[in-house]
C-alpha cells in the first residue's frame, strides 16, 4: 500500500496524542497527577491529536464533504473514528476548562477520558484491521499494536516503570506483527489463480499489462518497497521506538528532560514503523498485476 505521509502523520501524531490523553485520564482517575499537569499534558495531547486529524483531512481528495463522514457510524469504522475523536477531544476540552476554573478535578472524568481515547485509537486501527484485502492488517495484532504504541508513547513523559511495561508490550507486539506480516499471504487462500477464478495452485502469469502507464490502483495499492531497505528500516524503527527509550528509562528513571528527548526518538521510530506498516502491506489487487 502507498505510504502517504498525510496518513502516516495522522496515525503517529493522533495515536500519540490520544495515548497521552488516556494516560492523563488514568492518572487523574487514580489521583496520581496534579491539576496543573492535567492541564499541561491534556493540552499537549489535544494539540498532537488535532494536528494528526488535520493531517488526515489533507489526504481527502474532496475535502468539502468531510463533515459527512460522521454519518455512517452503523457500518463504517472510519465514521466511528471521526465521531469518537471529536467527542473525546470535546471531553478533553471540557475537562481542561473545569480543572482550570475549579483548580481541582473529578476522578471519574479521568476513567471516561481513558476509555474514550482508547476507543478512538481502536477505531483508527480498525480502519486498517477490517480490510480482508490486506491480510497483514486483517488480524488482532493491528489494534493491539496501535493501542500499545500509543500507550507506550503517551506514558514516556508521565510514568517511569509503568512506561517500561507498556513499551515492552509494544516491542513484543511489533516484532510479532512483522513476523506475521512476512507470511501473511502464505496462510491466506488468495493467489493469482483464485483472483482469476481458477484453482489456488494454477500456474498463471501475466504476459502483458492492462495499461501502458501507471494508474491509481498501482500507485495506491501495488507499492513496491525495496526489501533490503525494509529490513534496515525495521532495525532503525525498533531501535528508535523501543530499545532507546527503554534503556534510557532504565538509566535515568524520572528525569523529565531525558524523557522529552526519548519521546522524540520514539515518535521518529513509530513514524518508520508506520511507513513499513503501509509500504510492506500487500493488497489482493496486486495479484492481477503479477
Amino acid at each position: 500500500m502507498h505510504p502517504a505521509p498525510s496518513i502516516i502523520l495522522f496515525t503517529v501524531l493522533s495515536g500519540f496524542g490520544f495515548g497521552l490523553i488516556s494516560i492523563v485520564g488514568l492518572l487523574q482517575f487514580l489521583s496520581q497527577i496534579s491539576a496543573v499537569n492535567i492541564i499541561i499534558f491534556s493540552l499537549i495531547g489535544l494539540i498532537f491529536s488535532t494536528v494528526g486529524l488535520i493531517s488526515s483531512f489533507f489526504h481527502l481528495a474532496n475535502k468539502k464533504n468531510a463533515i459527512k463522514s460522521m454519518s455512517q457510524w452503523q457500518t463504517s469504522w472510519l465514521s466511528r473514528e471521526a465521531i469518537s475523536s471529536i467527542f473525546c477531544l470535546s471531553v478533553v476540552v471540557g475537562n481542561i476548562g473545569w480543572v482550570f476554573i475549579q483548580n481541582r478535578y473529578i476522578n471519574e472524568v479521568g476513567i471516561v477520558l481513558f476509555l474514550l481515547s482508547l476507543f478512538t485509537i481502536f477505531t483508527t486501527s480498525m480502519i486498517y484491521a477490517q480490510l480482508k484485502t490486506v491480510p497483514s492488517w486483517n488480524n488482532i495484532l493491528t489494534p493491539a499494536l496501535f493501542i500499545f504504541a500509543a500507550l507506550g508513547g503517551g506514558s514516556i513523559l508521565l510514568m517511569d516503570y509503568a512506561s517500561l511495561v507498556l513499551l515492552l508490550i509494544f516491542g513484543i507486539l511489533q516484532v510479532w506483527f512483522w513476523y506475521i506480516a512476512d507470511q501473511s499471504f502464505m496462510y491466506k487462500e488468495t493467489t493469482i489463480g483464485t483472483a482469476l477464478g481458477f484453482s489456488k495452485n494454477e500456474n498463471i502469469r501475466a504476459f502483458d499489462v492492462a495499461h501502458t502507464n501507471r494508474n491509481y490502483l498501482l500507485n495506491e495499492m501495488v507499492y513496491k518497497v525495496a526489501r533490503k531497505h525494509a529490513i534496515k528500516i525495521r532495525y532503525i524503527s525498533f531501535f528508535a521506538a523501543f530499545v532507546f527509550p527503554m534503556s534510557l528509562t532504565l538509566i535515568f528513571p524520572g528525569n523529565f528532560s531525558v524523557s522529552v528527548f526519548m519521546l522524540v526518538f520514539h515518535l521518529v521510530g513509530i513514524y518508520f514503523s508506520r511507513w513499513l506498516f503501509f509500504a510492506e502491506a500487500k493488497h489482493s489487487v496486486s495479484f492481477y498485476y503479477n
Binding site: 500500500m1 489526504h59 481527502l60 481528495a61 474532496n62 475535502k63 468539502k64 464533504n65 468531510a66 459527512k68 463522514s69 460522521m70 454519518s71 455512517q72 452503523q74 457500518t75 463504517s76 469504522w77 472510519l78 465514521s79 471521526a82 480502519i127 477490517q130 480490510l131 480482508k132 484485502t133 490486506v134 491466506k188 487462500e189 488468495t190 493469482i192 483464485t194 483472483a195 482469476l196 477464478g197 481458477f198 494454477e202 500456474n203 498463471i204 502469469r205 501475466a206 504476459f207 502483458d208 499489462v209 492492462a210 495499461h211 502507464n213 501507471r214 494508474n215 491509481y216 490502483l217 495506491e220 495499492m221 493488497h283 489482493s284 489487487v285 492481477y288
Partner: protein, 247 residues
C-alpha cells in the same frame, strides 16, 4: 446508507466468457466513451497526449498465460476486470459518508458523487481493484452497469444493455438477472459452470466468469504433429516438394 440491503428481487450483473474474449479492449474504450459523455459525469485523463498519461477507467483488460497441465502447452487468455456488484460488498460498508450504496431493487453498487469525500477507503476494501479515484474531480468512480442505458426510455430496447456488452465484437459479455433461474445468464452459468473471483474474500460477487475451455491432448496434437520434414501436399506443390527434397 452503507447498510447492505437484501436484494431479493433482482441481481443484475455481467457474465464474461474468457473462452471467447479476444482481448481487443473494445469494452474498455466504449465504457470510457459512454461514461465520459454528458455534462455531469466525467472519467478524467491527465496528460492524455503527453508523457506519462494517467486516466480513470471502469474496466481494464489484462492478458495472462496459463500452463495447461494436460498438454504441457502455454495458453493465453484475456481477462476483463470491472466491478462485480458483490452481494456482500465490502466497499459499501466501509464508506464513512454514505456515498457508496447498493440498490435494493437490482443490486447495483453505486457512488453518490455529491456525498463522496475522496478518502479512497472503498478502493482499499475492494479485493478486485474495481474502484478508481478520479484525480480531477476527487471522487470515486466505478462501474454503474450503465444504469443510464439499461433503464433508458429513449434508447431503442436492443440498446438497453451496458455499453461494454453492446460493443463486444465477439459476444464475450452478457448482461442479465442472476436471480432469475430462467435468464440467459443463469442458464449459461449452470451449463458451463460460472465461477466467482476470489471466493475466499466472501464478497459473493454477482458477476460470473466462464473460464477458458481446457484443450485436450488430441486438439493440440493435430496441430503439433505437423512437422517440418513431412508434407502431404499433392499436385504441383507435391512435385516441388519431392523435387526439392532430392537436393
Amino acid at each position: 446508507m452503507t447498510k447492505l440491503p437484501k436484494c431479493e428481487d433482482k441481481k443484475l450483473g455481467l457474465l464474461i466468457d474468457l473462452d471467447t474474449c479476444v482481448g481487443c479492449h473494445g469494452c474498455v474504450v466504449s465504457c470510457k466513451e459512454w461514461n465520459s459523455s454528458g455534462s455531469e459525469k466525467q472519467l478524467s485523463d491527465i496528460n492524455s497526449h503527453q508523457k506519462d498519461p494517467v486516466g480513470t477507467f471502469l474496466n481494464r483488460v489484462h492478458s495472462y498465460e496459463r500452463e495447461n497441465s494436460c498438454t504441457n502447452e502455454t495458453e493465453t487468455f484475456y481477462f476483463p476486470r470491472s466491478c462485480l456488484h458483490c452481494e456482500d460488498a465490502p466497499c459499501v460498508t466501509v464508506c464513512p459518508t454514505g456515498a457508496s450504496y447498493k440498490r435494493e431493487e437490482d443490486g447495483i453498487v453505486l457512488v453518490n458523487e455529491d456525498d463522496c469525500m475522496g478518502c479512497g477507503l472503498c478502493a482499499w476494501a475492494c479485493p478486485y481493484g474495481a474502484r478508481e479515484l478520479d484525480l480531477v474531480s476527487g471522487v470515486m468512480k466505478k462501474c454503474t452497469l450503465c444504469i443510464d442505458r439499461i433503464y433508458s426510455e429513449e434508447l431503442p430496447p436492443e440498446d438497453r444493455v451496458p455499453v461494454c456488452v453492446k460493443s463486444c465484437p465477439t459476444g464475450a459479455r452478457a448482461f442479465g438477472d442472476f436471480n432469475d433461474p430462467n435468464s440467459d445468464v443463469s442458464k449459461k452459468v449452470k451449463e458451463r459452470g460460472g465461477v466467482d473471483l476470489m471466493p475466499e474474500m466472501q464478497t459473493k460477487p454477482v458477476n460470473k466468469y466462464l473460464l477458458p475451455r481446457i484443450k485436450s491432448k488430441d486438439s493440440v496434437g493435430s496441430v503439433g504433429s505437423v512437422g517440418e520434414e513431412e508434407t502431404d501436399a499433392t499436385g504441383l506443390l507435391g512435385w516441388v516438394d519431392r523435387a526439392l527434397s532430392k537436393f
